[in-house]
């Protein structure tokens, strides 16, 4: 029975690995900033899934704590990234407007 579980979850982990690579390519190629932030969020969720699968496969129950920490941190990362990029845009816009007023 454990071999069946191992085959199933190993296959799932391989597919999740390929999906992680695909999200990474999206993060690099994505023409807009929002594409990259979306890709980072998706990568976080995929990693949470793989941590939970690994915690079952290795029989260690305490690894799910790490998954909880990771969800919190990825959410915090999205909050901060969006705030920083919006602030940079507003700064550049204000500088451009001040430059136009001076000129």
């Amino acid at each position: 029975m454990t071999e069946a579980y191992n085959i199933l979850f190993t296959g799932a982990l391989i597919v999740i690995g390929v999906l992680l690579l695909a999200c990474l390519i999206r993060a690099i190629r994505g023409p807009r900033i929002a594409d990259r932030v979306i890709a980072v969020n998706m990568m976080g969720t995929l990693i949470v899934i793989s941590i939970c699968i690994l915690s079952f496969m290795m029989g260690e129950g305490w690894l799910v704590d790490i998954a909880m920490i990771y969800t919190m941190l990825s959410f915090l990362a999205v909050v901060l990234l969006t705030k920083v990029y919006m602030g940079i845009y507003r700064e550049k816009r204000r500088q451009r407007e001040e430059g136009q007023q001076d000129a």
Binding site: R32, I33, A34, N41, L46, D65, M68, T71, Y89
Partner: protein
């Protein structure tokens, strides 16, 4: 017998979850604009993780670890819509040619986002708190 039923249920849930993850990532590649990709990415955060983690919970049985996995699912469901909202807000603020990529229904809100109000001073904040 029970083991086989448990394995079949777990395998069915895991494969369904893998299908949802796959369709989410394919959707992120197929859609052409960032705001549409948020729809596809939300598929992972909600259905994908639910089905996959339910598969793992059925496999582990009723332990503290499976309760923690339920807490992980609940936490992700609480935070994922806010993340999507923030990403949408970011895209609307940064895009200079929004009307070309999407239908803008409320241009005033877009202008408000792009140019911050310079009238919020500390005095205004304390007035809000007093009210």
């Amino acid at each position: 017998m029970l083991d086989i039923i448990r394995f079949v249920i777990s395998a069915a849930l895991t494969l369904a979850g893998l299908f949802c993850l796959l369709s989410g990532v394919v959707g992120v590649y197929k859609f052409r604009y960032a705001l549409s990709r948020v729809h596809a990415a939300a598929l992972l955060d909600t259905v994908g993780i639910l089905l996959m983690l339910l598969g793992v919970i059925v496999a582990t049985g009723f332990t503290v670890a499976s309760l923690k996995m339920l807490v992980v699912i609940a936490f992700l469901w609480l935070t994922s819509p806010v993340a999507g909202h923030l990403i949408g807000r970011l895209e609307v603020t940064i895009n200079d040619e929004l009307s070309r990529d999407a239908d803008v229904l409320d241009q005033d809100y877009v202008e408000q986002e792009k140019v911050p109000e310079t009238t919020t001073t500390p005095a205004d904040d304390t007035q809000e708190e007093a009210q």
